[in-house]
C-alpha cells in the first residue's frame, strides 16, 4: 500500500458478529423477560415441562446475554475498530482473515451447544461458568483464536502507538483467559473412573476454595466482559461520533492501570459473611470502594469529552445513547461499592437488589453502548444511512423507562426483603416467616417484568432498524466523517 492511499477495510467478520449480536440479544433478553414474568406469575413455569422452569431457563438467560449477546458485540466491534486504529485491513492478511472466520464459526457453534446443554440440565452449576468441560475446551479454542487475531493485527499494524481501545481489548483477552482457565479446572469423571456420563465432571476445588475461585472468576470475568471491552468501545465511538478529542490522556492512563490493579480484588465482596477468611472479606470490601476511582475516571473522561459540544445531545441520538451509557456506568459503579460495605451487604446479599444492580450495568451501560456502537458501524459497513431516527428516539425513551422501572422496583424489593428477614417482634421472635418475604414482593416483580418487556420491545426496534438499514437505507456516496447520518 502506498502512503496516503485509502485503506479498504474488510467488514465481513464484523458483519457476521453483528448478526450474532442481534440474534443472541433477542434470545437472551426474551428468556430474561419470561423469567421476570415467571416470578410474578408462577403458572408460567409450566409452559414447557421440565425445560420451561425458572431454574432451567435462568442459566440460559445469563449465558445468552453475557456470552451470546455481549461477546458477539465485543467481537463485532473488535473486527471493526482494530482495522481502523491499527491502520491495517484484514484483506491484507489471508491468515488473519481465516482465523477470524474460524473464530466466528467455532464461537457460534459453542453458543448453540450451550443453549442445548443448558436446557437439558447439563451444567456445572457455577454461575457464568455453567458449561461442561467439552464445551469449555471449545471456548478456550476460540478465545485463543481471538488472541491470535488481536496480536496478529497488532503485529502488522502501521500505527506505532496503540490507541486506548486496544489497551482495553488486550486486558479483556488476558484477564478472561486467566480467570476462565483457573475457574473451569475440572476432572471429567468418566475418564477417570470409566463409569457414567462422559459430559460430567467435578471441580478441582472443594467447598470454600471452590467458592473463592468461583467469585474471583465470577465478579471479574463479568467485569472484563461487561466493563473493560465496553470502555474500549466508548473510547473509540464517542470521540468518533462527536468529533471531539478524548478529554484527558493522563486520566485515561490513570483509569486504565488503576482499574486493572484494583478490579481483581473485588471478587471477595461476594463472600462477605461467608466462611472465607475475614481478611479476604475485608479486602474485597475495601478494594470495591477504591474501585470507584478508576471507574469514575473513565466515565468522567467520557463526559468531559463532550465539553463545549453538549448541544449534540439534542441533535444526535447516538450521543444520547452513549452519554446515558456513561451515566449508568457511573451509577452502577457507585451502587456496587455501596453494596459491598459490610453493613449494607448484610441486608443486600441474597436479595433482589443484586439482580437490580447487575441490570443497571447490563441494560443501562453494556447494551446501550453495544447498540450505539453497532448503529455507528452500520452506515460505514453497509454504506447506507441509518433507516429511521424517530424509531431510534422512541427506542431510547422506551428502554430508558424500562431500566428505571427495573432498578427502582428491585431496589425496593431487595431492601424490603433484607429488612423483613431480620425483623424481630417485641418478644424476640422472628416477625416474618420466609414466605411472607416472598409474597410481599409480587407487585415489584410485576413492575420489573413490565420494565423488562419495554426494554425488549426497544431491542426489537433496534433489530428492525438495523435490518432496514442494511437492506433499505439510503445509499451513501462517501463514508461519513463523524456524526452518523440518519434518515428522518
Amino acid at each position: 500500500m502506498q502512503n496516503g492511499a485509502q485503506i479498504e477495510y474488510d467488514y465481513s467478520i464484523a458483519k457476521a458478529f453483528t448478526f450474532a449480536t442481534i440474534l443472541f440479544g433477542i434470545i437472551g433478553m426474551l428468556v430474561g423477560v419470561i423469567l421476570a414474568f415467571q416470578l410474578a406469575f408462577p403458572q408460567l413455569n409450566e409452559l414447557a415441562g421440565e425445560y420451561g422452569t425458572f431454574s432451567r431457563l435462568r442459566p440460559l438467560h445469563t449465558n445468552g446475554v453475557a456470552f451470546g449477546f455481549t461477546l458477539s458485540g465485543i467481537f463485532a466491534t473488535w473486527y471493526y475498530i482494530s482495522q481502523r486504529v491499527l491502520k491495517v485491513s484484514l484483506k491484507e492478511s489471508p491468515f488473519l482473515m481465516a482465523i477470524g472466520k474460524l473464530h466466528f464459526l467455532l464461537y457460534f457453534i459453542t453458543i448453540l451447544l450451550a443453549v442445548v446443554t443448558l436446557l437439558a440440565g447439563i451444567t456445572t452449576s457455577k454461575e457464568y461458568a455453567e458449561l461442561e468441560w467439552p464445551i469449555d475446551i471449545l471456548v478456550v479454542l476460540w478465545w485463543v483464536l481471538w488472541g491470535v487475531s488481536i496480536f496478529g493485527l497488532i503485529g502488522i499494524r502501521r500505527e506505532r502507538t496503540l490507541y486506548i481501545s486496544i489497551w482495553y481489548f488486550i486486558a479483556s483477552f488476558l484477564a478472561v483467559a486467566m480467570l476462565y482457565l483457573f475457574n473451569n479446572m475440572e476432572v471429567p469423571t468418566a475418564l477417570v473412573s470409566g463409569y457414567g456420563s462422559w459430559m460430567h465432571s467435578v471441580s478441582m476445588y472443594a467447598g470454600t476454595n471452590d467458592a473463592l475461585v468461583q467469585w474471583w472468576y465470577g465478579h471479574n470475568a463479568v467485569g472484563f466482559v461487561f466493563t473493560v471491552p465496553i470502555i474500549a468501545m466508548i473510547y473509540y465511538f464517542l470521540p468518533k461520533e462527536s468529533g471531539q478529542n478524548v478529554y484527558s490522556y493522563k486520566l485515561s492512563i490513570l483509569a486504565f492501570w488503576g482499574l486493572l490493579f484494583v478490579y481483581l480484588w473485588a471478587g471477595g465482596h461476594h463472600l462477605i459473611y461467608s466462611t472465607v477468611p475475614d481478611w479476604m472479606q475485608t479486602m474485597g470490601s475495601v478494594m470495591s470502594i477504591v474501585l470507584i476511582l478508576p471507574s469514575w475516571g473513565s466515565a468522567i473522561n467520557m463526559l468531559l469529552t463532550m465539553k463545549g459540544e453538549w448541544q449534540q445531545l439534542q441533535t444526535n441520538t447516538l450521543i444520547k445513547f452513549m452519554i446515558l451509557a456513561s451515566t449508568f456506568y457511573m451509577l452502577s459503579t457507585i451502587e456496587g461499592p455501596i453494596q459491598s460495605i459490610k453493613s449494607v451487604n448484610a441486608i443486600a446479599h441474597f436479595t433482589d437488589w443484586i439482580p437490580g444492580h447487575v441490570h443497571d450495568g447490563t441494560l443501562g451501560w453494556v447494551t446501550f453502548m453495544v447498540m450505539a456502537a453497532l448503529y455507528h458501524m452500520a452506515p460505514r459497513m453497509y454504506g447506507r444511512e441509518l433507516y429511521s431516527k424517530s424509531l431510534m428516539d422512541t427506542q431510547f425513551w422506551l428502554q430508558t423507562t424500562g431500566i428505571v422501572l427495573y432498578f427502582t422496583s428491585m431496589w425496593i424489593a431487595g431492601i424490603t426483603q433484607g429488612m423483613m428477614w431480620r425483623a424481630y417482634d417485641e418478644y424476640g421472635s422472628l416477625l416474618y416467616s420466609f414466605i411472607d418475604t416472598v409474597t410481599v414482593l409480587k407487585p415489584y416483580y410485576t413492575i420489573r417484568a413490565v420494565g423488562g418487556l419495554l426494554y425488549l420491545i426497544g431491542f426489537f426496534m433496534f433489530a428492525y432498524n438495523m435490518y432496514k438499514t442494511a437492506t433499505a437505507g439510503r445509499v451513501l456516496d462517501k463514508e461519513p466523517i463523524n456524526a452518523t447520518p440518519v434518515a428522518a
Partner: protein, 227 residues
C-alpha cells in the same frame, strides 16, 4: 513511563498480566490448604446422595436456594447453626448460591421430612401457600443417573483422596462404603428403598421395588443429608 509500553505490545501485555494476576496471588492462594480441613463428623456423600446432588444441580435449585447460613441471629434463629468452612470440604462444586428467592437449605435435613419434600416437589404451594416455586413433577418420572454418581465417587476417591471405604472416627467401622460397582449399586438401592418407604407416590414405590431409582428419591436422600 506508561507511554513506553504503548508502543511495545509485548511488554504492554506482560505488564497488563502482572497487574491483573497480582490480586489472585495475594488473595486466593495463601489460605487454600486451611480451608480444606473437614469439621468433625463431616462425611463424604453416599452414591445415592451424590446422584441427588446432581439432580439438585441439573434443575439448578441453587439458582433460588442458598446453602450458606450467615452468622447473624436472624439467620441462626431461622435456619440453625451458621455454616463452617470444614462442612463443605466434600462439596465439588460448592452450592452456596447467590440469591434467596426461596429459603436457605444448608440444614434443611434438620427440620423437613421425606414426606414434606415429596409434597413440596410435586406441588410447592400445597405445603407453602403462596409459594412461587415451580412444580418439579418430572423428578418423579426421570430415573436418577446412579452410574455417573458412582463414577464421580470413584473419581474423587482416586484424585482427591476423599475418604470412602475408610474408618474415619476409629470405631472399627467403615463410615461411607463405596466398594465395587455392584456393591455400590446394591447399597444405593437399599438406601433408596428406605426413602421410598416414607413416600406416598405409588409409581415411585413401584419403580424402586423394580430396582429403578427415580430422581426424586435421590434428591430427597441428598436433602435429608443436609444437616
Amino acid at each position: 513511563m506508561f507511554h513506553w509500553f504503548e508502543q511495545r505490545p509485548f511488554f504492554f501485555a506482560v505488564l497488563v498480566f502482572i497487574f491483573v494476576a497480582f490480586a489472585g496471588i495475594v488473595e486466593v492462594i495463601p489460605d487454600f490448604a486451611k480451608q480444606s480441613r473437614p469439621t468433625v463428623g463431616t462425611k463424604p456423600y453416599t452414591v445415592l446422595e451424590l446422584a441427588g446432588r446432581n439432580v439438585y444441580i441439573k434443575d439448578s435449585c441453587n439458582a433460588c436456594h442458598s446453602q450458606l447460613i450467615r452468622p447473624f441471629k436472624s439467620e441462626t434463629d431461622r435456619y440453625g447453626m451458621y455454616s463452617l468452612s470444614g462442612e463443605y470440604v466434600y462439596d465439588r462444586p460448592f452450592l452456596w448460591g447467590s440469591k434467596r428467592t426461596g429459603p436457605d437449605l444448608h440444614r434443611v435435613g434438620n427440620y423437613r421430612t421425606t414426606d414434606w419434600h415429596e409434597n413440596h416437589m410435586m406441588d410447592p404451594a400445597s405445603v407453602v401457600p403462596g409459594s412461587i416455586m415451580p412444580s418439579y413433577a418430572h423428578q418423579f418420572k426421570n430415573i436418577a443417573d446412579i452410574d455417573t454418581a458412582y463414577g464421580e465417587a470413584v473419581t474423587v476417591k482416586k484424585v482427591f483422596n476423599t475418604p470412602y471405604d475408610v474408618d474415619l472416627n476409629g470405631d472399627g467401622k467403615i463410615d461411607v462404603p463405596l466398594g465395587t460397582y455392584e456393591e455400590a449399586k446394591a447399597e444405593t438401592l437399599k438406601e433408596a428403598k428406605a426413602i421410598a418407604a416414607d413416600m406416598k407416590n405409588q409409581a415411585v414405590k413401584d419403580a424402586v421395588a423394580n430396582g429403578q431409582i427415580p430422581e426424586i428419591v435421590a434428591l430427597i436422600a441428598y436433602l435429608n443429608s443436609l444437616k
